[in-house]
Every structure is written in structure tokens, then in C-alpha cells.
Amino acid sequence: MASTSKDVPAVVIQDNPPDDLEPGACHDSILNPTDSFEEFASEMSSSLQERNISLATKSSTISEIQSEIGENSAPMKPTKSSDDLQTKDESISASTSNSNLTEQNGDDTDTEKDDYLQSPELVNKEKHVFILSSAGKPIYSRYGNEDKLAGLCGVIQALVSVVEEQNQDILRSISTNDCKAVFLVKGPLILVAVSKSDESETQLVLQLTYAFNQIVSVLTLTQLNRIFEQRRNYDLRRLLSGAERLIDHLLIFMEKDPAFLLGAVRCLPLPEKARENITNAIQTTCNKIRDLVFAIMLAGNQLITLVRMKKYTLHPSDIHLLFNLVRSSESFKTAESWTPICLPKFDSTGFLHGHVSYISEDCQACLLLLTVQRDAFFPLSQAKHTIADKLRRSNCLVAINDALNRNEELPTTNPLKHIGIPEIRHFMYKCKSTAQLFTSDPISLDKLQDYRLRHKEGGDIMEKKVEKLSDIDYVRNYRKFCSSIHCTSTPAKLIFRSNSCDTILAWVTNGFELYVTFDPLMEKDQAIKAVDRLLKWIKKEEQRIFIMHAPTF
């Protein structure tokens, strides 16, 4: 095992953030800076009443845009004054209502259990996710057949309701020796993760929140709420058919990519000039298209560029949903698509309309043009072709392909070799102000390919040890450090842990978060020196690694 938590002597020292800007920081950001844990911090501390109002109608950004571009002649007044989720954290900590039940262990000798729960497709999974309606009807199960889990869903609904109605409290989690169940009630849905992994309760809540947002992204929150207001017995699977696949992918994606853990977005490393050209091509082409809100180019779950309407930025979690959509939709590869997309953080009440297409057959970059205009397919299709031509002429497609194919000559392909600090095995760095992420061993496209193969299979708990750790394994090891650093009561600034397996340093400042794995038994001074060199390298390469501009139309 790479690390056991027992031998973690956490050293906490004061940090002195450097005076100049940290690597990757710039004055304008295309993304909302986030603390990935802020959301569940507020989720976890909200009381029952707060929860009930938190999903009330927010003002609509989309109608705001529509009115600004003159789509509607008079300015829109939202019907209800906004109870913005962001402002919600101010009202937190009112009550620490925590029903953390501990197992009383079913000593009922009722041996006749539901057989299906013991079937091979369900037992021995590392993590289950169940989604059900507040009537107790199954909507989604990561494994198995949710119809056959109707009994289990009834039990879940009853558990949640008993705590709610009898104790006026919220059921957050149930822990047993080797397993925890985490519950999240969101609007008309109940989401549950049952996990044997070492992920913390908050990390699991984050994943459930994402799963919820994925559903909102397909339906909008307005529609989701309306459906269940009208018919509480509604079988939501009927509206979500096809979206199940999106949730499947998202759950795997979240386990593999640290971007979720850190609430940050990976960028495709590109020469500064190439990225500038791409951005320019989009800007000049789309300048005149009034209704365009975002133009986003991405490849392999990495952001290439994002051009936006003035005033509007995107939340990393919305970008993650777009990555996931593109990643899990084969059909985008074969045809230009026109699809409604709700970005829950941006505006959960309505759809944006997206023109989605791959740039060309020989380049796996995908372009999303998101507008508030319902019938803009043809102008956007036109724009796409113009952009593609420009990119080809300016050799940008080659630059993108080089980065995607991890051309050996690029410094970012094999950063550790390039930096020349042999004792560093792995690192991940998040620039907080821009919510962007860079890791030493970015998940390659082929590794992500097995998403599809693993669909509904795999996920079993593995006993075997791996010889060479991958990005995913390192990230798994960082999880608990990440939890301590984001712990709301006693957050750590710097954690250094050294043992005979490896040495891990986790460091958070105002500007960045850094997680590094070194060889075993490193001294602290030595590690800090190495980190210093590492930061210098990131600073030197920042223009390539990160998106340092926040272009608008």
C-alpha cells in the first residue's frame, strides 16, 4: 500500500505566499474561481428549512441575456427575488443538524434477504450510486437493474423520511465498519452513494451533487420541479432515457480525474501563439453573432479556449458537465449537432442551445457554440466552418494534435523528465484564481477510452497491487490530504508525510493548491527545495499550461 493514514504526522506551518503572482494566475479569469469544497460545506451545514427554500426559483441568466441583446424589448423581472445559492453560505452554521447513524448491526436473524441484493452484479462493488424520487421510485442505479431495486429504494426513502419527519432532521450518512452511505436530498430527488472507498463524506456529497446537476443539465431544474409538483408518482426514467449513460460516465470520470476533486479545469497545454490564434479565429468569426454566449473548444477533457459574452463566466462544474457530454456522446463525432443544454451553475432554469461539432476528421477537438437563440443552427454551422478553415490555415490543428498525441518534444508531455527533479514522482497543481489545473501525468485519451468498456461493469474492489502507479492512483492517495486541507473546522495549510512507501506534500496558499509525491523517506527541507524548483518551472511554462487570458466577443 502506498500509504496508511495511521502514520501521518501532520506538520502544519505558516506559509508566506509569494509576492508576485503565483504560477498560472492572471487578472481576468474565464472561470469562476472556486473552492471545490465550498458547495458541500454549505450543503452539509444547511438545515431542513434552508434546504427546502434553496431550490426555489433563481433569476434567469438566460432571460437576462435575452433582454440585453434585445430579444425581449423590456427588461425581465424575475418573479421571485433571487435566493442565490452562492449567498447561501452566509446563512450556514445555524444548525449542525447531523443525523449520523451508526449501524446497530442487523442481528435480526431474518436471513431471507432480497436475493437480488446479493447478486454478482451488485456485491463487491467499490461504490454504488442510487437515485430515486421522493416517492421512493427508482430512477438510476450505477449497477444492476433499478427496477429490481425498487424495494431498496423504498427503504432509502423511508429512512430519509423517518429522520426528516420524526426528528425534523436531515439524514446525512450511515457508517458501518467497512462502508459508508451518504445521502443527499435535492428538490424532488434523493441521491445516495454507498461506498467502500476511502473517499470522504464530503467528496461523496460532491459526486452526488454532480449527478444531480447532470440530471438538471438534461431537464432544467424548472422542469424537474414542475414534473414532480404535478405528479409525485412520476417515473422520471421516462424523461431521462439516454441520460443514464451520461451519469454512468460522469461517475467514472469523477473517480479518475482530479479536476473534480479540486473544482478546477484542465487545459490542453499549447504554445502561447497557437492558443492565441485559436482564440482569435473564434473571436473574429463570432464577433457579429449577437446571441452567442460562449464558444468553447475542448479536446480530451481539456479546455483549449473559451470565448464569452462580456460579464459572463463559467463555473468549472458546468465545464465538467460539458466535457462529460462530449466525452460520452459518440454521435457528435459523426455529425454537427444542435442540442439543448442546461448549465446548472450558469442558469438552472433554462436551456442554452448548443451547436456541437468536432473541428475536423483529423483533429479531435470539439467546438461548442452556446447561444440563447433557439434557431441559430445555420449561422453557427457557418461560423464553425469558417473557424475550422482558419485553424487549419494557421496550423493550429497540428498544434492541437501534437498536444493530444503527447508529442515527446513538448515540455508538457513529460513534465517530470523536463523539469529534472528525479525525486518527484507525481504532482498536481491548481491555480485558485483561475480554477485551472495541471498534473504531471495527464490522463491520456486512451485511458479514458475504457470508460465505454467499463460501462456498467467493473468497479469491483480490487485486492491486487499495481507495480507502477498511474495518475489515478496518485490522485487516490491525495484524497485524504485534500480533505484535511479543505476541512472546514481545522484546515491545514501544509501537510508533509514521509514513510517507506513514499513522501507526500500537500500545500495550499491563497493562490494555489499543490500536491506532490516524492520518493520515500524524503527530508522536509529537501522536499521544499524541490517544490520551489517545481513552482519555478510551472511559472516558466504557465503560458503554455494555462489559459492566461479571458477573451470576450
Binding site: S63, M76, A158, E165
Partner: protein, 208 residues
């Protein structure tokens, strides 16, 4: 769409303690009852797949825990039910008289959209016993007076009419669902969005 063929129904069984609710469920699902969750959450669940007009229907049957009148789940238990089965014991007139209040209780707690047409089914159970005290006629009359609720005489013990009763329950609940579907309460995603926009514009008009 293949998912159109699948359906899941939430079925609630109500009636005084001892009338044979749990036994009926067991008979239908063909299982020795486990009482797995009753003590902790005041309810228990059984599921069974049935085929109705070549649709696969999963029945999720909710049973109360012993102390029927004080069952702890309250509204949550009834929320979003597709069908309600009311059971009485043909040898115990009191349990028959209670039907009225069980029905009311359900309608209050579940507050279905269209209470008059909500699918109930009444089961007069234990017809295998000799000491019958509620006649079929009396029961039928009451059912007729309540908007023609279907009535079945059953014996959980001897498996009389149990299968038929549950088939009817599934069929009636499904009929309700398809009816609602015809009215198309939820336009599909894209249309809904169109409605949203429309509504925004309306909003504008009002604001003017």
C-alpha cells in the same frame, strides 16, 4: 422507445391490523415474509414483476408495520402512490367500518391530483373462514357508492383471488398513468424550453 414498455408502480396496502395485509402480499409475491425493516422504519417493501398487456410492470408494494394507526412514516409513506389497496377481514365488521377512514386518511395524506378517480381496490380477506360477518353484497354496495371501486374477496391462506386482485391493481394503476400521458402534461424538453421563452415574453408583457 423500449422504456415505454417498462413501468414501476407504487402500491400501498392499508387496513386495520390483523386483516391479513402482510399475508396477502406474501401470498402474491410468493415469499416467506422477512420483516426486514419494519422495526426500524415502520414499513416494509416487496417487489414483484407482472406482465400487463405485454408491458413489464414492477410492483413496489408498501406494507405498514404492525401498529397501523401510528405508523411513523406519515406523508412520506403515501407520497406518489399509484394505487391504494384497502383490506378488511370479512369475519370482523369493525375492520369493514374502518375502510371509510382509511380511504380518507389516504386521500388526505397522499393528496392525489384527481382524488375521485384515484385507483383504489378493496379486498375482503379471510373468506376461507366460516364465521363470516360482512356479506359480499354489503361490501359491494359500499364500493359502488365510492365511485365503483373494484372489490375482490380473497383468502391469503388458500390463495383465492390474490393473483387476480393484484393484476387488477396493476392494470388500473397503469390505466391512470396512460390517461395522464394522453393529456401530455409535460411537453418534451425542447418544447418546454420554447414554453419557457414564451413565458418570459408574457412576463415582459405584464411588466409593461
Amino acid at each position: 422507445m423500449s422504456s415505454r414498455k417498462k413501468a414501476l408502480l407504487k402500491v400501498i396496502i392499508l387496513g386495520d391490523s390483523g386483516v391479513g395485509k402482510t399475508s396477502l402480499m406474501n401470498q402474491f409475491v410468493n415469499k416467506k415474509f422477512s420483516n426486514q425493516y419494519k422495526a426500524t422504519i415502520g414499513a416494509d417493501f416487496l417487489t414483484k414483476e407482472v406482465i400487463v398487456d405485454d408491458r413489464i410492470v414492477t410492483m413496489q408494494i408498501w406494507d405498514t408495520a404492525g401498529q397501523e394507526r401510528f405508523q411513523s412514516l406519515g406523508v412520506a409513506f403515501y407520497r406518489g402512490a399509484d394505487c391504494c389497496v384497502l383490506v378488511f377481514d370479512v369475519t370482523a365488521p369493525n375492520t369493514f367500518k374502518s375502510l371509510e377512514s382509511w380511504r380518507d386518511e389516504f386521500l388526505i395524506q397522499a393528496s392525489p391530483r384527481d382524488p375521485d378517480n384515484f385507483p383504489f381496490v378493496i379486498l375482503g380477506n379471510k373468506i376461507d373462514l366460516d364465521n363470516r360477518a360482512v356479506s359480499a353484497k354489503r361490501a359491494q354496495q359500499w364500493c359502488q357508492s365510492k365511485n365503483d371501486i373494484p372489490y375482490f374477496e380473497t383468502s391469503a391462506k388458500e390463495a383465492v383471488n390474490v393473483e387476480l386482485a393484484f393484476q387488477t391493481i396493476a392494470r388500473n394503476a397503469l390505466a391512470q398513468e396512460t390517461e395522464a400521458e394522453l393529456y401530455n402534461e409535460f411537453p418534451d424538453q425542447i418544447k418546454l424550453n420554447a414554453n419557457d421563452n414564451g413565458r418570459n415574453r408574457d412576463g415582459d408583457n405584464c411588466a409593461c
